[in-house]
Amino acid sequence: MSAATATTPIPKNSGWRLFLQTVIGRAYPRVIGQQREKSWLIFEVLLPLINVAAYVYVYRAIGAPEDYVGFVVIGGAMIAFWMNVLWSMSSQLYWEKEQGNLALYIIAPTSLMAILLGMAIGGMIATLLRAGAIIALGTLLFNVHYVVINPWQLLAVFALTMVALYGLGMMTASVFLLFSREAWHYVNLAMEPVYLLSGFYFPLKNLGFWVALGASIIPLSLGLDAMRQLAFRSGPSLGFLSVPLEIAMLSVLSVVFLIAARWLLATLERLAREEARLTENRR
């Protein structure tokens, strides 16, 4: 190191540039990790497809409308996002703490919201590939027919669902800051009930109005229902609420979850600092 390099201060970005750099920096391991760990092809595409196949054969055996097969394929693909939010968003800060990364995130001059957003965007991009693979394979294997009248609206609903879903993930990630090992159990606890309440494998409407309304707090329920309405001929007749209403509700959920995430993150970070829960307990 030359004397000049050693004494000249390094130019560093701040404000929105730092925020953006952090988002990209934290998204990078998620996106690149996907390419380096090929096992996801088996665990996250083929295994969900087996589940999808089971429902497809049940529906065909009982003579359900053929669109139900498409519903299941779309549901199976969206499960990938829910798994990603649960395991790689909600409980992630706990794992980061155990690994020693959380302390480094906290002492860095960047915002923890940017870290969470980077995690979310990276996870979303990586999962998009998995979900796409499930849809492509499911469509080919089970001969699914889509009737998409308004692809832009379908895309917008998907994007809104992602914002709301990952907003929920960011919010719960903040709560997990306070958890220790029990984080694992809470994640497990949230897995199966959501499979049911989101209507992954059947139309949400079948849950009955009040249960379906309650389940709408999970963005996937409304998002999936709206996407099915926009992608299949019988979709509108099997839909829970009208697509515009579902879009409005998803928009509200997105805003609420993101604001709550920001508030919870600040509050729980302060609390965790007071209670010595920001660093791992090994040392």
Partner: protein
Amino acid sequence: MNTEPPLNDLAIKTEALTRIYKIRGAKKGDLRERVALEEINLSVPRGELFGLLGPNGAGKTTLIKILTTLLAPTRGRAWVAGYDVVREADKVRPRINMVSGGETSGYGLLTVRENLWMFAQFYGIPSRLAHQRIQMLLEMIGLADRANTKSSDLSTGLRQKMNIVRGFMTDPEVLFLDEPTLGLDVQAAREVRAFIRRWMDENPQRTILLTTHYMQEAEELCDRVAIIHNGRILACDTPEHLKQQVQHEAIFQLVVEPEQPLNIQTLETLPGVLRLHQQWHNGGLQIEISLAEESVLPQVIGELERQQAHLRSLQKRQPSLEDVFVQLVGLRMEEVERERGNGYHADPQE
């Protein structure tokens, strides 16, 4: 007259800093308190390599956690680079960095270069400059040939070198090194220490707070050392001045071969014997003895002969920080750690 420099000239300052942990017991509602830091007053001027020396559990890491904004103090205040660590944490963070021994940060799937680049992004270092600095520091620390290796494939020593680069890469005003050579082999520890010293020598404004329980590391690296035990600072001065505290003592290292178990108590109660420590080493009993004055030595040797312990070697030793620690605490550091059940490892780097 108060001769303390103004806050802006200090890299670190603490005032009556205290941290009490609340520990939950096995029963519901059973809450105990453990004082990890008690009334710590420290002033570290800019440009100093300051050492905190103490056994595991002494409070070193707790102090670092508070100074790096990771932990709130229960009482008292602390400033880093002139800013309050609680009220102005957002001003402290751009000016600091931290590296801990045995750290497993980063992501195993990423290469060394990618991991470092990622952390550089969190400090707002422009990508191109980050890559230049990473390359330069990797070359300095001897890790350039492993830049494209996945970090999960690195040995402990190489991984710690990567962590060191991560901490230094942002060129912090104040750098916190928490046991940076913990678990490293002799060569890797030596390289890390040389790197630290070189980095400090290059810019007089840089400050490092280093915690260690390796006496030699503190002596070799630090401008000043604070000895910490049970959450309290027992002494704080340059290594030379600290050692002068025990300079009046005559310290001898003897190796004897006893024919029968030695009665140590008789030796300890001899007039003029201040402290004594014994351990088996290479088949002989090694005794380290501190005497009020050299003239007491013949009586010690006489007593050993009386007990049929044959003297194999005798060496006068210069006082070390270990002697200072023993004088202050009454126990050697390894004895403190053994009492706590910390599984003390004698310095493998010596």
